[in-house]
């Protein structure tokens, strides 16, 4: 008898708690939206945006041999689907600048006298320079390249010349994996992690710092005192810039000492870029804190921002493997530009000139977010 009544009470209490939980869940609209939104976003990003076999990689061509053969070779490059010939030039310096700044992934160099040497069966050389700072972005294209070199000219050389040219080995293909010749994945991932860590912690910390004031009721007192929004925002951001630099120095120390990631460029330039990136993330956190009603919501919003940052920035998957819409989306995110900055400076030894194209989008992003944040920051409790 006693047993029966106990189990009956268990059910009613269990129902009571479950019911209460459902009611509270329904009241918290943002949490509910996140529960639906995050799986949708993941499906969308993983399903449509991510592609580990990137094609249409921007390629610059240095062509000093304007012949039928070089045209055929370039056409077959294009037809492979892996290479988009975005720039044909005769200047090696220009091509160098393009690959350093990240505007192109490959530089194909067809030397002067290519067709002459080909016809004389002297195995002319085609030099392909690949930006191998992200090994996964280039490996399939390089594999396709080897196949191409064997077969591309076989049709043109059919007949008399083909015999003379030595059949399949007509061309000497030299592939130069720049910036990361051994294709070490850590070289790419470890500097990128710096950006990922900063994105996660900076946004979350500032998001929480502000909503905490509201949740604990200290906001009312703060607003009743003579302090303006800019003072509050900057004052709240400053300590986290300090924290961010500690994280950066820690990551750099481990990168170089444990993973032997080279620092080719200027450390000082990197630290300046870091400042801008930290500030951009902190401004996002501030903006979230003006929207979120409590710390829980601030956490959720951080995650909602963090997920596409990880997936669309080129950190986990090659940026150029994504469809155009996803690339456009990725271009907005601070992490995308920071990855290019940090990889450029550490692996490529980029200087100020090559970093500028990725600095201004960060700055623009930050200014826009701060402007929205200040507009949303309420001086009153309305």
């Amino acid at each position: 008898m006693k047993r029966f009544s106990l189990s009956r009470f268990f059910w009613s209490r269990f129902i009571a708690v479950a019911l209460k939980e459902f009611i509270q869940m329904r009241r918290d609209r943002l949490t509910f939206a996140m529960m639906v939104g995050i799986p949708l976003m993941q499906l969308g990003l993983f399903g449509f945006a991510i592609n580990t076999d990137p094609k249409h990689l921007p390629t610059a061509v240095i062509n000093t041999d304007q012949s039928e053969f070089s045209r055929t070779f370039l056409a077959s490059l294009k037809n492979s689907g892996y290479f988009d010939l975005v720039r044909v030039t005769e200047s090696e310096a220009e091509a160098n600048q393009l690959i350093a700044s990240g505007a192109v992934q490959f530089v194909v160099n067809i030397p002067l006298g290519f067709s002459r040497d080909l016809l004389r069966a002297q195995h002319p050389t085609i030099l392909v320079e690949a930006d191998a700072s992200d090994p996964s972005a280039t490996s399939n294209a390089i594999a396709a390249l080897n196949e191409l070199a064997r077969s591309a000219l076989s049709h043109d050389l059919k007949g008399s010349a083909s015999v003379a040219a030595g059949g399949a080995n007509a061309i000497d293909l030299i592939i130069h994996r720049r910036y990361n010749p051994e294709g070490i994945t850590q070289y790419n991932i470890v500097p990128g992690l710096m950006g990922v860590i900063l994105t996660m912690t900076m946004i979350m910390m500032t998001g929480l710092a502000m909503t905490r004031e509201r949740e604990r009721g200290t906001m009312e007192h703060l607003l009743a005192m003579p302090v303006n929004p800019l003072e509050v925002m900057l004052g709240k951001i400053m300590p986290y810039i300090f924290v961010g630099y500690i994280q950066v120095l820690l990551t750099l120390l481990i990168s170089t000492q444990v993973f032997h990631v080279p620092i080719q460029g200027s450390l000082w330039l990197l630290l300046v870029c870091v400042l801008l990136f930290i500030a951009a993330n902190l401004s996002v956190g501030m903006l979230f804190s003006t929207i979120a009603r409590n710390q829980m919501q601030a956490m959720q919003m951080t995650f909602f921002f963090f997920l596409p940052s990880m997936l669309l920035s080129g950190f986990m998957f090659p940026f150029r493997g994504m469809p155009v819409w996803a690339q456009h989306l990725g271009e907005v995110l601070p992490l995308t530009h920071f990855l290019r900055l940090v990889r450029g400076i550490l692996l490529k030894g980029n200087g100020l000139m090559q970093t500028l194209p990725h600095l201004w989008p960060l700055l623009l992003f930050m200014l826009v977010v701060i402007a929205i944040g200040l507009k949303r920051f309420k001086r009153t409790l309305d």
């Binding site: 009721g217 009312e220 007192h221 009743a224 001086r379 009153t380 409790l381 309305d382």
Partner: protein
């Protein structure tokens, strides 16, 4: 506007989600006065105070607070007032001294270290200076909040239910401190729903459903109510209360310890209704001044009838 008036507002109105929380608030408070803001929960006391210190923008109305416009000059107002929130709003994870130091820096108080040390001393918080504010008991938290509110020598203090949940001894000390501040020329506007605290104010206003029902000195309020009150002592008072409740002219019957307070707004009608009971030997009747509580309850039920 004369220099003797600290608060002078007209027709302040505020709605939230279409519900009018404060309706047409008109209020004058003189400098150096302790002005009590009374009313039941949800009557609009907090909203009114927040409008006076610039935390909320009124939907309608205008006025001046310390000679600054309450709508346009909120930044100046904030510099010269001290606002003590209903809920403890200092940082629980900062120590007592760190909290005061933070507030002093925000207000740009000169000689900060000295001022903070003096405040700690004055409020008897010196030996708790390194204790985290979150670990203080209710009475100490309230003392700390008052110290933080007065650090920058404000001309006007807005105290929102400062004594809620504080023991009687701490409440008494707190009111002593408020009277001392007023004697120094500081204007104090304090909200409360304790009637004994109402009697300690120089003047007071009673709010209900966002509207001021009456204002004046405690004795003016009592006299102006036109309420007549009898105090009955004797046996079987609860049965008597039930009998009296429905009689014409009897507005309210309220037990106070071993006595009943019987009040009505029409003296003649009340006396006539009570006549038959006054000859009973087991009861003794005395005529009394209505207490503020009698007056306010009468006001609220009258306002409720009008609203219904």
């Amino acid at each position: 506007m004369s220099m003797d008036v600290a608060i002078d507002v007209h027709g302040l109105t505020k709605s939230f989600d279409g519900k009018r929380v404060v309706n047409n608030l008109t209020l004058q408070v003189s400098r150096g006065e302790i002005f009590g803001f009374l009313g039941p929960n949800g009557s609009g006391k907090t909203t009114s105070i927040r409008m006076l210190c610039g935390l909320l923008i009124p939907d309608a109305g205008s006025g001046r607070c310390l000679d600054y416009d309450v709508i346009r000059e909120t930044a100046q107002i904030k510099r010269e007032i001290g606002y003590m929130t209903q809920r403890f709003s200092l940082y629980e994870d900062l120590s007592v001294r760190e909290n005061l130091d933070f507030v002093a820096r925000i207000y740009g108080v000169p000689n900060r270290a000295k001022v903070v040390a003096a405040a700690l001393e004055r409020l008897g918080l010196a030996h708790r200076r390194d204790q985290l504010a979150g670990t203080l008991s209710g009475g100490w938290k309230q003392r700390l909040a008052l110290a933080a509110t007065t650090l920058h020598n404000p001309k006007l203090l807005l105290l929102d239910e400062p004594t809620a949940g504080v023991d009687p001894k701490a409440r008494r000390d707190f009111w002593l401190a408020i009277h001392q501040l007023a004697a120094e020329g500081i204007t104090v506007l304090v909200s409360t729903h304790y009637m004994d605290e109402a009697e300690r104010c120089h003047r007071l206003a009673y709010l209900s459903y966002g509207q001021i029902l009456t204002q004046g000195t405690p004795s003016e309020v009592a006299a102006g109510s036109g309420l007549a009150t009898w105090i009955v002592t004797g046996t079987a008072l609860m049965q008597l209360a039930e009998t009296l409740q429905g009689l014409p002219g009897v507005a309210q019957v309220v037990p106070f310890g071993g006595a009943l307070h019987v009040s009505g707004s029409d003296t003649a009608q009340l006396d006539a209704a009570l006549e038959p009971f006054q000859s009973r030997s087991d009861l003794s009747w005395t005529r009394a001044e209505p207490s503020l509580e009698d007056v306010f309850i009468q006001l609220v039920s009258a306002a409720g009838e009008r609203a219904a």
